[in-house]
């Protein structure tokens, strides 16, 4: 009988665990190892960061749910991988260190038949000097704790604006290779709306700072999209929204140092500049967790498993931008050296960026890393779970389920402000996520009918509906599996 161990209980880890448990009978063991005792619906952190939702509305404790559903749960963080076992253990295992109060510091070798690494990114604040959420007037909204801090900081500033202070707010990316521009984009629009709601908008200048070459790149090389009866580029759409909201922008900026209320950055044309602010939210760079791997003789084999993130069935051969193809992107998220290890969601190493790489004259790479949003994270986790289920049932390896980001659509509903009548959302869908320039040569690598943008109140309602639907699904309430990833 098989034991499947899932590392991480974020979108991918939780999706994989819940599908495995639903489809495999109880003779098979499903175990989740994750340091956070709660599940959080990360996209709604944007609303926590502007005080429109409380963090307890976006999270719930995992242990009671997993107990009820017969999913094993270890509140621990994995530190190293032993895919061949070691001298004492013939079975592969991961070494985990408990972080729960009762067992803090204890370690355990957790054996497995199949391993799903869904540990997402490490929020690599250290890569930017002085970038530490909650200090230097600089915040993050990447976790609910960060978002709570951000709201405290913003609330204090709004108080000062009401007293007549004038201020500058800076929102965007905090590193030359950061990703997740979409989250920063949502946050800037929500902050702008919150200032208007509190009647202090005229007191604050709001500036977007980003490593993107053009607005609306979003780490996806931008897109050509249909907008009503028009066809426009994503940069035109974002420009239109920023103009409308009186938001200034700085592009091609690699933030490299933060001091108290000051961001230092290098631009693509080689200038070194600073911007002062009273409040900033800057997304850090994402990196792998720095896991180590060892063979059965305790020799370091980290490079067989990791390239920063986990190595999967992608084509990692270095090649120039012009030679990149969608075929480089993974389809099954299986590690080529150890076929019982998979890495869906953000945990897999992408073959290259999606945005065109660009360098400043001094050689600093300034461009977004590839994003992996919630929808592909869920889809890739489900297909990994389905392949494992098939392999267990058929008692031989089955990799029938495939899902390349070059043949998968994504819907991104970016909140542009909260409120049942005053809210707004920018709904953007793309197909495929990674542009396929061969298949769609005339429309910037994407299928136009499936790549569209829409702005308005309906977008807010949709985002709110998705919030409730995905929390319902994550809680595994009746018929949860009918809600697609």
């Amino acid at each position: 009988m098989a034991k499947i161990v899932i590392l991480g209980a974020g979108i991918s880890g939780h999706v994989a665990a819940s599908h495995l448990r639903r489809k495999l009978d109880n003779t098979h063991e499903v175990v989740v190892v994750s340091p956070n005792s709660n599940y959080q619906w990360i996209p709604s952190n944007i609303w926590v960061g502007v005080g429109r939702m409380k963090s307890d509305q976006i999270l719930f404790p995992l242990a009671p749910l997993y107990k009820k559903k017969n999913i094993g749960f270890k509140q621990a963080k994995v530190t190293s991988f032993f895919p061949e076992g070691d001298s004492d253990n013939a079975k592969p295992f991961v070494m985990a260190e408990y972080v729960s109060e009762e067992k803090r510091g204890e370690t355990e070798k957790i054996t497995y038949d199949y391993l799903i690494n869904a540990t997402g990114p490490k929020l690599n604040f250290e890569a930017t000097e002085g970038l530490n959420p909650g200090t230097n007037k600089t915040y993050s909204v990447c976790t609910y704790t960060h978002a709570n801090h951000a709201w405290q900081g913003l609330q204090a500033l709004i108080g000062e604006l009401k007293q007549g202070k004038e201020a500058r707010i800076v929102i965007g990316t905090g590193h030359a290779k950061a990703t997740c521009q979409g989250a920063a984009f949502e946050y800037i629009l929500n902050v702008e709306q919150e200032l208007r709601r509190q009647n202090v908008r005229d007191k604050a200048k709001i500036t977007w700072i980003s490593n993107e070459y053009e607005l609306g790149d979003f780490g996806m090389d931008g897109m050509l999209l249909s907008y009503g009866s028009n066809i426009m580029k994503s940069h035109e759409m974002v420009e239109m929204v920023f103009e409308d909201r009186d938001i200034e922008w700085i592009l091609g900026a690699g933030v490299n140092k933060i001091e108290d209320g000051v961001a230092h950055f290098e631009t693509l044309n080689g200038e070194h500049k600073t911007i002062e602010y009273d409040f900033a939210m800057l997304i850090p760079s994402f990196s792998g967790h720095g896991f180590k791997a060892f063979d059965k003789n305790n020799q370091d084999i980290t490079e067989k498993l990791f390239k920063g993130f986990m190595i999967v069935d992608a084509d990692y051969t270095p090649k120039p931008y012009e030679e990149w193809t969608v075929q480089d992107w993974p389809e099954t998220y299986q590690n080529p050296s150890y076929p019982n290890i998979f890495a869906p969601g953000i945990a897999f190493a992408p073959p290259h960026s999606i945005s065109k790489p660009r360098k400043s004259p001094s050689g600093t790479e300034i461009f977004p890393s590839p994003p992996r949003t919630g929808m592909p994270s869920g889809i890739t986790a489900k297909l990994v779970a389905d392949n494992i289920i098939d392999s267990i049932m058929q008692q031989k390896e089955s990799l029938h389920h495939k899902g390349s980001m070059g043949n998968m659509g994504a819907a991104c509903i970016a909140s542009a402000g909260f409120g049942m009548t005053k809210g707004s959302g920018i709904s953007i869908t793309t197909f495929p996520i990674v542009p396929d320039y061969k298949k769609y040569p005339d429309t910037q690598g994407r299928k136009l009918g499936k790549t569209f943008g829409e702005i308005g109140l309906a977008g807010h309602w949709l985002k709110l509906a998705l919030h409730y639907a995905f929390i319902y699904k994550a809680k595994m309430k009746p018929f949860w599996y009918l809600i697609p990833e």
């Binding site: 659509g409 707004s424 709904s427 869908t429 702005i455």
Partner: protein, 44 residues
Amino acid sequence: MTRRISNFKRFVMMNPIIQFFRFLYLSIKVLLIVAGGHGGTRKI
């Protein structure tokens, strides 16, 4: 030159009745993209 959101567009964007129908349309469109499926890209 940057495009601008006209007053009429803004009315359409924020009118709850029009937006209710946009909501239904958007939900279906997003669902179709998700349900449209996914697959590999490599020929075997």
